[in-house]
């Protein structure tokens, strides 16, 4: 019998299960887009069919990092930019878990940029939500990797000379097999995309536009948005890498011109996940590693058998 009984459970799941019974007072500012992520994530969970006990949410640092405080599941509030390496190893050790990583644009595209590139490249089966509000919030309003060129802040008083990161394109070229953008102001689409991302068998990157009413004064910057799937003007095949790349370029250029394009940009459901690739090369056990420690019948192989080669 497994020690991880929650994982074997099959039942209807209620959205309220993901709300702590005594809800901690969220420390996000009134009007913060982060509330939109929390709500969309909770609502997506029943559709994915995973319980709080079989879900591991790994977050970074900053306002986005607090998501794991307000979302009832196993949580790991890690360090700035490092949610992905923690999350992907947890998934490797126990692939039966639903693993979600989350962080902000500074966290995910700045300090954690290297991990983002490599986790996408390896196509770990997990969902990565990046709260993208184009600003460092919790440290009080510094220019972030997604802030527009010319952005003025205490750390860029003369206006930023840097072009912003292009998160969708970066995810695609790095190798993510699912790339989408949604916005807190679009709760229905956000919920659908998160549910889809979690169901996706591979690395699903969701660039989640969240307004910061405190440090990015234009709190309504992401309204109106355009859903690229609902608009005839944006007809491209999300399963075609080149067409997807083109659409992403357009979306990334348009964002700073006041036009917010959201929706699914790339879906590759053919590509095996990292775990599958690794199993195919014989580098990964079929049964979850984490379970083995509780399996009384498991025969532990002994490394001193290896000593023969040293005689």
């Amino acid at each position: 019998m497994s020690v991880f009984n929650a994982i074997d459970e099959e039942r209807d799941i209620d959205v309220n299960e993901f709300t702590p019974s005594l809800e901690p007072q969220a420390t996000w500012c009134p009007g913060c887009g982060d509330f939109g992520v929390l709500k969309a994530l909770k609502q997506a969970m029943p559709e994915v069919g995973r319980t709080p006990d079989e879900t591991l949410l790994v977050t970074g640092i900053g306002c986005s990092g607090k998501l794991s405080s307000y979302f009832q599941s196993y949580g790991f509030h890690s360090i700035h930019g490092r949610s992905l390496p923690v999350a992907r190893a947890a998934k490797l050790a126990n692939p039966d878990l639903e693993v979600i990583a989350a962080g902000g644009d500074g966290d995910g595209y700045g300090i954690g940029g290297n991990h983002f590139m490599h986790t996408a490249r390896e196509n770990h089966d997990m969902t990565y939500i990046v709260f993208d509000n184009e600003i460092f919030g919790l440290t009080k309003g510094q220019t972030s990797p997604t802030s527009p060129k010319g952005h003025k802040s205490k750390t860029q008083p003369h206006g930023s000379a840097k072009s912003p990161i292009r998160p969708l394109s970066l995810a695609l070229t790095s190798g993510a097999s699912y790339v989408a953008r949604t916005a807190a102001v679009n709760p229905n689409q956000a919920k659908e995309i998160l549910a889809e991302a979690m169901a996706h068998d591979g690395f699903a990157h969701v660039d989640f536009l969240t307004q910061c009413p405190t440090w990015n004064k234009d709190a309504k910057q992401y309204v109106p948005y355009i859903d690229v799937q609902d608009s005839d003007d944006y007809d491209f095949d999300v399963r075609d890498r080149r067409e997807a790349a083109e659409a992403m370029h357009e979306a990334e250029d348009a964002l700073y011109e006041g036009k917010v394009l959201t929706g699914r940009f790339y879906i590759d459901d053919e590509r095996p996940s990292y775990q599958q690739e690794k199993q195919a090369t014989g580098d990964m056990p079929e049964t979850p590693l984490a379970e083995r420690y509780f399996d009384d019948d498991y025969e532990w192989e002994r490394s001193y058998d290896l000593l023969d080669r040293h005689k």
């Binding site: 640092i61 790991f76 360090i79 998934k91 002994r302």
Partner: protein
């Protein structure tokens, strides 16, 4: 200088197969009943450059590389294709000879490959040979190898010649070659071996006074490095997840584990950087696997952030730190003990960890097992600190050292029944509750029913929620910090201390050291006591928690103590004084940080220089006076 031991040095260029050849030869000596200790010296280059491996073999236990050596096999540096007189690294072609002559003992043997090396290029060669009574064998090893197809096989020719001179039966070598070599190259190698052996037997006077002593092992030995000790210790403890980034010399542990983990049902991940590596180990451990990571100086520096994360989230984590000479990139392939303080104190805040510094391959195995046990039982980071010398040097260890009981016990984890009975806070399992015992709060694993909680790198309350409440802060800090006291008690109560005391307990004078200097210090103690001194030594392995009681009583009645360590700033001495709060006027230092490990005579000279001025400190060592309390 004794003749009851062989110290055989094979010198050449990196990429010449020096390492694999010497491994086989070391095994052959071990199979002939001898105790073996190897030392690897190599430059930070892929090909070319002067490199050597030394194998010391004797009937008695060998604990260090010894002083100097008595048998040189000088192969050509085949990768110095464009020798230039004015080249920055000098003329590399003749380095296998020129770089090695200084340390060759009187009466020693030289085999050199006359197919590649020309002694005419060494101005004083003949004079030195005569003055030192060296026995020189100029053999065209390359020529012989070429006859059979490949120049690289001149290694084998050198082994054949060596066996003829030292009187080692070829059978053992042939058997090892048969096991180690693919069929295609085996036959020519065997023929080269025999032909070279016969040639020397027939055409040269092999009665040169350097032979292998007769011996037999009391117990079946194995030849392993400190890195093998660590890797096998980890695997026996049920470690089935490793994440790392290549860096010399830590790479040894990483590659050994990676080679075997998939076959043992485990997972190895080579990742983008060391921050990721340590974070992966944390993620896997959090999810319920026994996991480790590691690095060397610069890579370990990157791990300081995840190290603190493991501590505050109380995720069991085992890290390996294989020291090399620093600061920064320093000397990547040279040993030093300069990262002691780095490992003790790295990471922000008041941090708490277990640090073991094994002194030899046997201790590497034993202490790695203990490090895992403590990390998982106490949910605390454990670090195995060792160095480049112990990483790559091989020694004979009785097979019986390897414990026959694997231990996959994952430590303090709750059952789902415990969870059901346990208290909850805001709907979450009280994973960080205070139970007042040994500071350990049993953890639940993701996937366990009802056990969800938040593991937070922020200060948190019992359910893991971020909390800046002053009282909660003090309670949680005190609980976490109290683990080290519990661990200290556990270590004190163990049957066998990790510290090794060597020499007469009542000696007047003491030597203190840690890690890989163990063997050289013990041999020095024997030499000093044979010379009429009264000296004992303690090799300290427990760096944290520090064995204050043991060290205090060891130092209690001695007049003075010499702290021997491979760094420039006496870090270990500072640590002893800091932990014991005493002995400031008693502790002198003998320091070496030139990239070479201590040899026994370095320590003997240092001791005599300090004690009565009858000797000078050895070249590149330094004595530092006591600082007072």
């Amino acid at each position: 200088m004794t003749d009851d031991e062989l110290i055989w040095r094979i010198a050449g260029g990196s990429g010449d197969g020096i390492d694999s050849t010497s491994q086989n030869f070391a095994k052959a000596l071990m199979r002939s009943g001898l105790n073996v200790f190897t030392h690897r010296h190599y430059p930070s280059r892929i090909r070319g450059g002067h490199t050597y491996v030394e194998i010391r073999a004797a009937d008695e236990e060998v604990k260090s590389r010894g002083d100097n050596y008595n048998f040189l096999l000088a192969l050509g540096d085949s990768f110095a294709r464009n020798p230039q007189e004015e080249a920055y690294y000098g003329n590399e072609e003749i380095k296998p000879l020129t770089e090695n002559l200084d340390e060759l003992r009187e009466g020693g043997v030289i085999i050199y490959d006359s197919g590649l090396l020309d002694t005419d290029e060494i101005p004083d060669f003949d004079e030195r040979v005569e003055a030192n009574n060296w026995h020189v064998f100029d053999l065209d090893l390359r020529g012989l190898a070429k006859e059979y197809g490949r120049e690289i096989m001149r290694n084998t020719a050198g082994i054949g010649a060596t066996c003829a001179i030292i009187g080692l039966d070829l059978d053992v070598v042939e058997e090892l070659m048969t096991n180690a070599m693919p069929e295609k190259i085996l036959e020519p190698n065997l023929e080269i071996l025999r032909e070279s052996y016969e040639d020397v037997k027939e055409n040269y006077d092999t009665d040169v006074g350097v032979t292998v002593p007769d011996s037999e092992h009391e117990e079946e030995p194995v030849l392993i490095s400190g890195s093998h000790g660590i890797a096998y210790g980890a695997m026996d403890e049920g470690c089935r997840f490793i994440a790392g980034y290549p860096m010399t010399p830590w790479t040894d542990v990483f590659t050994i584990m990676t080679q075997h983990l998939p076959d043992l049902g485990g997972i190895s991940e080579q990742v983008e950087d060391e921050i990721a590596a340590a974070a992966l180990a944390i993620g896997a451990s959090h999810a319920g696997a026994k996991a480790m990571s590691g690095s060397s100086g610069g890579g370990f520096a990157l791990m300081s952030e995840p190290l603190g994360l493991a501590e505050i989230t109380e995720t069991p984590l085992v890290l390996v730190e294989s020291m090399r000479a620093g600061p920064s990139t320093g000397m990547p392939t040279k040993p030093e003990q300069g990262d002691l303080e780095h490992v003790l104190y790295t990471s922000q805040g008041d941090s708490n960890r277990v640090v073991f510094a094994p002194g030899d391959a046997r201790e590497s195995y034993v202490q790695t097992r203990k490090a895992f046990e403590l990390a998982y039982n106490y949910q605390i980071p454990s670090i195995i600190l060792y160095d480049q010398k112990l990483s790559g040097g091989h020694e004979t260890v009785p097979e019986s050292v390897f414990d026959k009981e694997p231990n996959p016990d994952i430590g303090s984890v709750v059952t789902e029944e415990d969870i059901e009975e346990g208290e909850r806070l805001a709907g979450r399992f009280k994973r960080y509750r205070y139970d007042g015992e040994d500071g350990v709060s049993p953890r639940s694993l993701p996937g366990q029913k009802g056990g969800n909680y938040l593991a937070s790198g922020n200060e948190h309350n019992e359910a893991g929620h971020i909390s800046e409440d002053p009282d909660n802060r003090v309670t949680q800090m005190d609980r976490r910090m109290s683990k080290l006291d519990a661990i200290r008690d556990e270590l004190d109560e163990m049957d066998k201390s990790h510290q090794t005391v060597y020499g007469d307990e009542d000696a007047d004078y003491a030597i203190l050291n840690f890690g890989s200097t163990k063997g050289a210090v013990e041999e020095a103690v024997d030499m000093l006591n044979d010379d009429g001194h009264s000296v004992k030594a303690m090799n300290v392995s427990d760096m944290l928690p520090f064995p204050k009681g043991e060290v205090n009583s060891f130092l209690e009645d001695v007049d003075e103590a010499l702290v021997v360590e491979m760094n420039a700033t006496a870090q270990f001495r500072r640590h002893i004084q800091g932990e014991t709060g005493r002995h400031g006027d008693k502790l002198y230092s003998l320091l070496k940080y030139d990239g070479n490990p201590f040899e026994p005579t370095d320590i003997v000279d240092g001791f005599e220089a300090r004690l009565d001025g009858s000797a000078e400190p050895a070249h590149n060592t330094r004595i530092e006076s006591a600082t007072g309390d």
